[in-house]
């Protein structure tokens, strides 16, 4: 939306040409300027510039929907609102299962079963809708090289023996789980950015990132100055792209995190390592 070129925002040809002489070609460049700067650059009066601003804003602004329309849309398709985890008490607490359209974070000390849970949910996502699955492919981004294909087949065969009765069915399931091994923050971010096209072409219905914490902790040592800001930049950028994908395609996104120590002496200091709220407050 931000990179939308001004000529698609219904501005006149000559206005666009005039603005491009000042290197203002996208809506982002236009909206970041103050009113006086815009007057100078467009050569228009104050009121004209306000009208131009409204035109450009209309090209960028999101569409309005009432809460009622959102509710109606959800109730039209209730089964696609959650991915059931088949653990009844967990589903009950989550009001149906892992919600579609938002990010879910699973966190625990090492060895509690995060990766096992992710593997199981991958199997569930490939099941047909009649069995509680999403009948789609899975994008599995593995940063710890903890994914085991043998374990995947073991879980599938033992959990749903009646469904996976033939090797054919098992291979079909494994073909729809796409595994990507990424070992640096940069490659994880690049992979997340490239997900949009893959989701459409491969009919992906679940994204799993296991785990976000391991790459971040490896690369960003928070004691070095400036790293905290870099880290939070990386995390918020990744988070906003993932949120966009989750909402746009109405699919669940599962992230795993690790546990760290919270030092609580004096005022609340939450040293939760992968919280995007951690940011060096930059002086102005």
């Amino acid at each position: 939306m931000a990179a939308k070129k001004l000529r698609r925002a219904q501005l006149s040809q000559e206005m666009c040409e005039r603005l491009s002489r000042y290197q203002i070609t996208t809506c982002q460049d236009f909206l970041c300027l103050s009113l006086l700067e815009l007057m100078k650059v467009t050569g228009q009066s104050y009121y004209e510039v306000q009208k131009l601003l409204c035109k450009v804003s209309r090209a960028c602004a999101p569409k309005m929907q009432t809460a009622y329309e959102m509710k109606l849309r959800k109730s039209v398709n209730p089964s696609s609102a959650f991915l059931s985890t088949t653990l009844h008490s967990l589903d009950r607490v989550l009001h149906g299962g892992v919600p579609c359209g938002s990010l879910t974070e699973i966190t625990s000390p090492p060895g509690c079963g995060k990766t096992q849970f992710c593997i199981m949910v991958s199997v569930l996502a490939t099941l047909p809708v009649s069995m509680g699955g999403l009948d789609g492919a899975v994008m599995y981004i593995d940063t710890e090289s903890a994914f085991s294909a043998e374990r995947l087949i073991e879980i599938a065969a033992n959990r749903f023996p009646t469904y996976f009765d033939s090797d054919e069915k098992l291979f079909c399931m494994t073909r729809s789980i796409h595994l990507y091994r990424e070992l640096t923050c940069c490659s994880v971010l690049k992979r997340i950015m490239s997900l949009e096209e893959e989701i459409i072409s491969k009919k992906v219905k679940l994204i799993i990132i296991d785990s976000v914490a391991s790459v971040v902790r490896k690369e960003f040592d928070t004691k070095i100055q400036g790293n905290l800001a870099e880290r939070s930049n990386f995390l918020t950028r990744g988070a906003s792209v993932l949120k966009y994908l989750a909402e746009e395609f109405s699919i669940p996104v599962i992230l795993t995190n690790q546990i760290t120590t919270s030092l609580s002496s004096g005022p609340a200091i939450q040293a939760d390592l992968v919280s995007p709220a951690d940011d060096l407050s930059l002086s102005e």
Partner: protein
């Protein structure tokens, strides 16, 4: 009328030409007339006419201002302001302790900022307010509509349905207890569908969409004149990444704050913003402070900070021009934002409704 030509909101090129031709005051321009003007500075008659219309509009506005009528700047006595403030409604939060420390609830025409760590209840309060602003006047509400601008994607319709259902239930109980005609009539329009239809939701994915939406808000609010609450959930999120140039960020945030103040005043609505917390590394320890820096702290009139104390949620009134700084505890129940214990003074209707408020915190935690 003696206004200098350089201060008029004309196009810069035109202003330069007028200055070069020797025009100094607006009166001179008006005296010359469009034909004379076009001949002297070499522009077409239509352009000259347009310029004169702008000048006339400005001078008229100036005259109205000096006469004390309503214009771009308002002038009134403190007594008039007092009367206005006293008749103005508040948007209640259903947590009477919070309403008390705020002086009655969230004030209209002011910007209220809610800061807090993730998960402490900021979005819950925003959703509660979006429902509470619609409470009819006979029940003590402002009977308005709500605009919800979401930048983080944390708005859950199902949760709003729960909160709205509890609110309608509460009003029904009051109506039953007091048996007044206007209560019954108001309840006919105060239904779940109506509440949901009057929450206008915008999902802004980055800061450009947020800026664009705020530019378009005045137009939207004049079309929907019953809006009394604008919520921006997550003003910090879009501004915390992809900003190498921090001075640009400060400038954009200041511009945003000014526009929101104008919107709050012109349309008599409350503006509620939620902010994140960030860590400030001090000499020996680090503290959690609201994000977006020191200068952003001046934008909001009222600042609330939500935080945890072991497992109890607390709200601190950090900045307010009229109330003193204090901390209270609150709960998030399945019905929404509530007190920790029921209030001391209860009127008869709350006898039956008191159960949701009295539900102890431990039951929720076990779930």
């Amino acid at each position: 009328m003696q206004r200098e030509v350089g201060t008029l909101p004309l196009a810069p090129a035109l202003r330069a030409r007028l200055a070069a031709a020797g025009f100094q005051t607006a009166q001179e321009l008006l005296d010359t007339g469009p034909c004379g003007l076009s001949k002297e500075i070499g522009i077409s008659r239509e352009e000259a006419l347009e310029a004169l219309q702008v000048v006339r509009q400005e001078c008229h506005g100036d005259a109205a201002r000096t006469a004390g009528a309503s214009g771009a700047t308002r002038r009134c006595t403190a007594l008039e302001l007092l009367e206005e403030e006293q008749t103005q409604g508040f948007i209640i939060t259903f947590c009477s302790a919070l309403d008390n420390i705020l002086g009655g609830g969230v004030q209209l025409t002011k910007i209220t900022e809610i800061c807090g760590a993730p998960g402490v209840g900021k979005t819950q309060l925003c959703m509660q307010l979006a429902v509470d602003v619609q409470i009819p006047e006979c029940f003590g509400g402002v009977a308005g509509e709500a605009v919800f601008i979401d930048t983080e994607g944390s708005f859950m319709v199902d949760r709003v349905v729960d909160i709205a259902a509890a609110c309608v239930q509460h009003c029904h109980l009051i109506a039953e207890a007091q048996q007044e005609e206007d209560h019954r009539k108001a309840l006919e329009t105060f239904s779940l569908e109506n509440i949901l239809s009057h929450i206008y939701y915008f999902r802004c994915r980055d800061y450009i969409e947020l800026l664009a939406q705020v530019y378009l808000l005045p137009e939207f609010l004049s079309e929907h004149s019953k809006v009394r609450l604008v919520v921006i959930d997550g003003i910090a999120f879009p501004f915390r990444h992809d900003f190498e140039d921090l001075s640009l960020r400060t400038r954009l945030l200041n511009g945003l704050a000014q526009q929101l103040i104008i919107i709050a005043n012109d349309h008599k609505s409350a503006v509620v913003l939620t902010n994140q917390m960030t860590t400030r590394i001090g000499q020996s320890q680090s503290t959690l402070v609201p994000a977006l820096g020191e200068s952003w702290g001046h934008a909001a009139t009222v600042r609330l900070i939500f935080h945890w104390d072991n497992s109890q949620r607390l709200a601190t009134l950090y900045k307010s021009p009229s109330q003193k700084e204090s901390t209270i505890a609150y709960h998030i129940t399945s019905h929404g934002f509530r007190d920790v214990q029921p209030p001391a003074v209860t009127h008869s209707a709350e006898g039956t409704e008191v159960n949701p408020r009295k539900r102890p915190r431990t039951e929720e935690e076990k779930q």
